[in-house]
């Protein structure tokens, strides 16, 4: 008899509810459930992204036992949990003793583990290790959005809900490809259009949403700040902004106006490559709409100026009064299924759970008391993306990586690998043997989504419960339990009975989340924080009555000058590489790479999208293999010749291990958010004459990569 287990999809931040169909202890299918965001729909990842739980070994094998090796050249040996925990605890304490707690870096996981496990990890980092060096992949994703929105509006999350996208009268999509990142959000955009909304798209590439846009601005790669300033310029100069709103609910307008004054559409035409008239038309449309919503993604955040562009976008919403009521707002659509959650529960170097600052003595005292320690570290910790530099400088000695694959997702992978090699201790806690795990001294095998329960936060601040569907195979433990054992072995007893206990502890410490109880989240329950009391239903939209969460309670205007992208192209590297997503795989691909249907649809080495004229110039033909290289590295990839890609730019997805675009990208990052400028790397293409040899080399390399990972487990 088949049983249905209600849960939440582990892939993107749409938070789709689905039922896993379980028979005889195995999952045999997935069906959509009527969740608040997905309304009975799923994309191919939701429908066919579960069979990795059957340990298909298509890409890598599942971790089934703790693995330890005496040095990085030795083979991994299976060890007992006792031995593994003992080793980890001993080494961590040694390093802490010798170099100080800040020589240790820890990560949270924005995917399968869930909020409770992440809460336990940051508690471990702070109360047991004694450092704020804990971070999650928001660092390489929407950290600029969090920073930019916190500075201007006071809350770093989406201001309105995914469902409201359908009802808005104008959607301005900036550097965001909903079709590939969040099909369920793309559905809402399409529905909005059906209901008469105007769609404006700003993107160098002709993305799916551009196809249905009322206005498409093909902005040049790297012109974001200029365009956003020009938008502000138009709204102000043409007096399209809501003067009353600005006067009553905002601060900093005069300085803002002064900075954007020079960014007339005519001035920006040259920088952004779009006609001034179009820039004006965009703002006419945006300002004229009764309600308008801004949606953005990595096209805004993965830049050296990401934080400032977000501040500029918030400014547009403030200028037009598109905040504080339904169907409008600012929408940084969070990528991973639980990156919002990882941030919510404080796996960030500067905040405790619930966005309480580590630099706030009152918050520190409260958490210290709750956690039974005398004090907690008071200075902001390091970010994930700073690890290579910190290792070079001798400041980091140990790295405890949990549910994250930086050896795949960090920029400048050659530099990353070098840094990993220099660390004295690398502990990896994961479900699959992946590229990062190959650097470990100790590997701790955890339970996967599907094998444990907990809470995820979706992109629009919605808490949802996900459930256990099958028993894990192998000698694995839930993440929170592993961290608990480690903490206990290091002298800090941590013995949670279940995730609900963890969640309740967290709730007591976070006024923002207090009302989101397990009970309320039963079944299809959906509670968007803030939810301050148990009888509060949650908050669909923020800033009601135009009260912002800034110290003054007002929205703050911040404008900054445009600076060009960091790495220039030249004759040798004439094209710009921009890294993007694809819909059929997710992120570092450790899960979807082991799903048969998804692997059938798309496999190594992945594609590079090239405009047909650029392709012809380099003698590249569609579907043929080629070399792509930057000043840092070189990989083999397959050509997808399409005029959807703009002249002068090429696009690769970051899922692939052979066609790994992060071998090419560089580590220049935004000074505030430390988010790397993935969107602009100078590259060149090289045609491969002997395609047959290239194809067989591809198969050989791929086979060897998989074999190495399989062999590591033994």
């Amino acid at each position: 008899m088949a049983e249905k287990v209600l849960t939440v999809c582990p892939y993107c931040g749409s938070g789709c509810k689905l039922n896993l169909v379980v028979e005889n202890g195995s999952i045999i299918g997935a069906e959509p459930a009527n969740g608040v965001t997905n309304e009975g729909e799923l994309c191919l990842k939701g429908y066919y992204g579960w069979d990795f739980l059957n340990d298909t070994k298509l890409l890598t094998p599942r971790l089934k036992k703790p693995l330890l090796r005496v040095n990085r050249n030795a083979e991994f040996k299976e060890v007992s949990w006792q031995e593994a925990i003992h080793f980890a605890a001993t080494r961590l304490m040694e390093i802490k003793q010798k170099y100080g707690p800040d020589s240790i870096m820890l990560t949270g996981s924005s995917r399968g583990p869930g909020n409770e496990a992440n809460y336990v990890m940051q508690k471990f980092a702070r109360a047991v290790v004694g450092t704020n060096n804990v971070d999650c992949c928001a660092r390489v994703c929407h950290a600029p959005s969090v920073a930019g929105l916190q500075a201007t509006l006071g809350n770093g999350a989406m201001s309105n809900s995914i469902g409201e996208i359908e009802e808005t009268k104008c959607i301005l999509v900036f550097g965001y490809n909903a079709a590939d990142s969040h099909p369920i959000v793309a559905r809402r955009i399409i529905k909005a259009k059906e209901k008469g909304a105007k769609i404006i798209v700003c993107d160098p590439r002709f993305i799916e949403t551009a196809r249905i846009a009322d206005l498409y601005l093909p902005i040049k790669n790297g012109s974001n700040m200029a365009i956003v300033n020009a938008f502000a310029n138009v709204l102000i100069e043409e007096e399209l902004y809501d003067k009353d709103y600005v006067a009553r609910y905002t601060e900093g307008f005069e300085q803002y106006k002064a900075v954007v004054a020079k960014y007339t559409p005519e001035y920006v035409e040259r920088i952004a490559g779009v006609p001034a008239a179009q820039i004006r038309q965009a703002m006419h449309m945006y300002a004229a709409a009764p309600t308008a919503t801004l949606l953005w993604g990595m096209g805004v955040t993965q830049w050296g100026q990401g934080v400032n562009v977000v501040k500029g976008l918030a400014g547009l919403a403030l200028l037009t009064g598109n905040l504080g009521h339904p169907n409008c707002g600012v929408g940084p659509v969070r990528g991973q299924n639980n990156v919002q959650g990882a941030c919510d529960v404080g796996v960030l170097p500067n905040t405790f759970p619930g966005y309480q600052k580590v630099t706030d003595p009152e918050a520190r005292a409260r958490f210290a008391k709750a956690w039974g320690v005398a004090e907690l570290p008071a200075h902001v910790g390091h970010c994930l993306t700073e690890v290579p530099h910190l290792v070079e400088e001798g400041k980091l000695k140990a790295y405890y990586i949990f549910g994250e694959d930086p050896a795949q997702s960090e920029p400048d992978l050659a530099a990353f690998r070098e840094a990993m090699g220099k660390l004295e201790l690398v502990i990896v806690q994961d479900i699959f043997m992946n590229k990062t795990a190959m650097f470990a001294d100790l590997i701790l095998p955890a339970t996967s989504w599907g094998e444990h329960e907990g809470i995820y936060s979706s992109a629009d601040r919605g808490f949802q419960r996900f459930n256990k569907a099958i028993e894990p195979k192998g000698d694995v433990k839930p993440d929170w339990e592993i961290i608990g054992l480690l903490a206990t072995a290091m002298g800090y007893p941590m013995n949670y009975k279940n995730t609900e206990e963890i969640w309740n502890e967290l709730r007591e410490l976070c006024p923002l989340f207090y009302g989101a109880t397990y009970e309320k989240l039963d079944g299809l329950g959906y509670v968007q924080w803030p939810c301050p009391t148990t009888d509060h239903p949650g908050t669909t939209y923020l800033y009601k009555d135009n009260k912002f969460d800034t110290p003054s309670g007002k929205g703050i205007f911040v404008a900054t000058d445009w600076i060009p992208p960091h790495e220039p192209t030249d004759e040798q590297y004439p094209l710009v590489l921009c890294t993007v997503r694809e819909v059929g795989h997710y992120s570092a691909r450790t899960m979807t790479g082991n799903c048969r249907a998804l692997q059938t649809l798309a496999d190594e080495p992945g594609y590079v999208q090239i405009n047909s004229l650029d392709a012809r110039k380099s003698g590249i033909e569609d579907q043929k293999l080629l070399w792509i290289s930057s000043r840092r590295g070189k990989v083999m990839v397959r050509a997808l010749v399409t005029d959807r890609a703009n002249l002068g730019a090429v696009y690769m997805t970051y899922q692939w291990w052979i066609g790994a675009c992060n071998e090419l990208t560089g580590g220049h990052h935004d000074p505030i958010s430390k988010t790397p400028e993935y969107k602009y790397t100078a590259v060149k293409l090289e045609r491969i004459e002997d395609q047959a040899a290239a194809e067989s080399r591809l198969q050989k390399d791929y086979g060897e990569l998989r074999a190495r990972h399989a062999a590591a487990i033994g």
Binding site: G29, E41, L42, C43, L44, Y47, Y48, D51, N54, T56, A178, A179, D180, P183, I184, A186, R187, I190, F206, E208, R211, I212, V583, G584, R596, A597, T600, L601, D603, T642, D643, R644
Partner: protein, 187 residues
């Protein structure tokens, strides 16, 4: 009129969930465990031109060129569609060449029916959209499309469209008079 499954390109996001659902709906029940690029045979293919994304599949032509050129009676007019009698196919591919839409293919049986042992005769089969007639819930592609871009169109839907368009044309006449009609007709 034959029914047909067709997509609205205005809603397609090119995710290919339909292709997977189609391929699996026409494979043995446990195909998710054995699927490979070779045995992945969807009857609809998502095509992305410079301006359009849409799945492309058999139109179930009422005067089907594929059926007209087939020398063995493999393609026959069914109740709602152009049906394939696979055992009659000799693999001449006349249907493939005749079809202007590129939506019928002739493929080896061992890929299509990996669960069936070789019986010594039919090696190849003509493959095209069959409206999922043997599937209880109807077309698999329609069921899974996250934006509900795919629809089944029958004569009632077509009649409704024709009616709407006539009403629209009539309204145009009233608004602009003969001039408006003529300039509209020119366009």
């Amino acid at each position: 009129m034959n029914k047909l499954v067709i997509a609205d390109p205005g809603k397609c996001i090119g995710c290919r969930t339909c292709e997977l659902a189609c391929a699996l709906a026409h494979s043995p029940a446990d195909a998710i465990a054995t699927l490979s690029p070779a045995s992945f045979i969807p009857r609809l293919k998502v095509v992305k031109t410079a301006k359009i994304s849409t799945p492309v599949q058999c139109r179930q032509c009422d005067d089907a060129p594929c059926a007209a050129v087939c020398p063995t009676g493999t393609l026959v007019k069914g109740a709602n569609s152009v049906e394939v009698i696979p055992s009659r196919c000799i693999g001449c591919k006349s249907c493939m060449i005749a079809c202007s839409f590129g939506v019928i293919e002739v493929l080896p049986c061992e890929l299509l029916h990996s669960d069936r042992p070789y019986t010594g005769t039919t090696h190849v089969e003509a493959v095209k959209c069959d409206l999922c007639e043997s599937r209880g819930a109807g077309p698999a592609c329609i069921e899974v499309c996250p934006t509900k871009a795919i629809h089944i169109v029958d004569s009632a839907v077509m009649a409704m469209t024709a009616l709407k368009r006539r009403e629209h044309s009539a309204a145009m006449l009233v608004i602009g008079g003969t001039d408006a009609y003529l300039s509209h007709a020119d366009n």
